[in-house]
């Protein structure tokens, strides 16, 4: 997930580079049409992924969200990031709010809270007054 304006700007540039790469790869077909096609497919996959991240960042930072929709377990873990970004909070401010060292917040965000303990996550949700209401559905 993109967690800063700097990352967002870098992603926009990367997306632009990928778009132009996809256009120029067809020139490689003179040497290997198979590799040209495969490289274009690879870059299209990468582009889709980056565009998803850009779209997510734009959506999250456009307004302060009153509700964060959780569709996957990963969404649940990303909720503190989404909360911070949607409220246009710096990591420093978020650190003051939660009482967690800003370097640690950065580390958590880099890992999308995958390695954050459940007790710390609970503490963060409490400090930012985030209530959770979940509906679990068995996979068929």
């Amino acid at each position: 997930m993109l967690t800063s304006k700097r990352q967002y700007n870098a992603a926009k540039l990367a997306a632009e580079d990928l778009r132009s790469a996809i256009l120029t790869q067809s020139n490689y077909a003179e040497k290997s049409s198979a590799l040209a096609r495969m490289a274009a497919n690879k870059d299209k996959r990468k582009l889709r992924e980056i565009e998803k991240q850009i779209e997510e960042y734009e959506r999250v930072t456009s307004n302060a969200l009153e509700e964060i929709e959780l569709l996957t377990f990963e969404d649940f873990l990303k909720a503190p990031i989404i909360y911070r970004l949607s409220n246009h909070m710096t990591i420093s401010r978020f650190s003051e709010l939660t009482g967690i060292n800003s370097r640690q917040i950065t580390r958590y965000e880099n890992e999308e809270y995958e390695n954050c303990s459940t007790s710390t996550l609970r503490e963060i949700f409490n400090k930012i007054n985030l209530n959770i209401s979940a509906h679990l559905k068995a996979r068929l």
Binding site: D17, S20, A21, L23, T24, Q25, N27, Y28, K31, S32, S33, A34, L35, A36, M38, A39, N41, K42, R45
Partner: protein, 144 residues
């Protein structure tokens, strides 16, 4: 052999390896890296069967980073590269390499409208530090 690094933690000059096995010896510096290298071996074998003789490893793998996410790099495509053999595989080579942790492109394939080939992109470096790359000769890698 003592490798030299620049202030960004990338190589100061190319590291030449004559066997794929040497990648594990010099760059398998922790459990994470060892796993990355071992997991990529089927992909390396696939490149060899397609006649690829040389590859360059780059990005965070060719640096002091302890836990690179994958192995970036390029493979050298000779002028006599057998396209038909590649098509006959029946699957997307680059996608298959990714499954084994290799984010690879042909070395001379352009990265953007400027026409800069992938190998030059890696040689430029993220911080314009002109990092060295890990050159690996695949022709002398002993089969298991």
């Amino acid at each position: 052999m003592q490798l030299q690094y620049n202030s960004f933690g990338t190589l100061a000059s190319d590291h030449h390896l004559s066997h794929w096995n040497d990648v594990l010896k010099y760059w398998g510096t922790n459990a994470h890296r060892k796993k990355l290298i071992k997991n990529s071996e089927p992909a390396i074998e696939l490149l060899r069967t397609l006649g690829i003789k040389k590859i360059f490893l780059a990005g965070s793998f060719a640096s002091l980073k302890e836990k690179p996410g994958d192995i970036d790099g390029v493979f050298i495509v000779d002028d006599d590269f057998d396209d038909e053999k590649l098509e006959a595989l029946g699957f997307d080579l680059l996608e298959e390499l990714e499954k084994y942790g290799l984010d690879f492109y042909p070395a001379d394939m352009p990265t953007s409208k400027t026409g800069e080939p992938h190998i030059d992109f890696f040689r430029r470096g993220r911080n314009l530090e002109s990092p060295g790359l890990i050159e690996v000769d695949l022709t002398t890698t002993p089969k298991k």
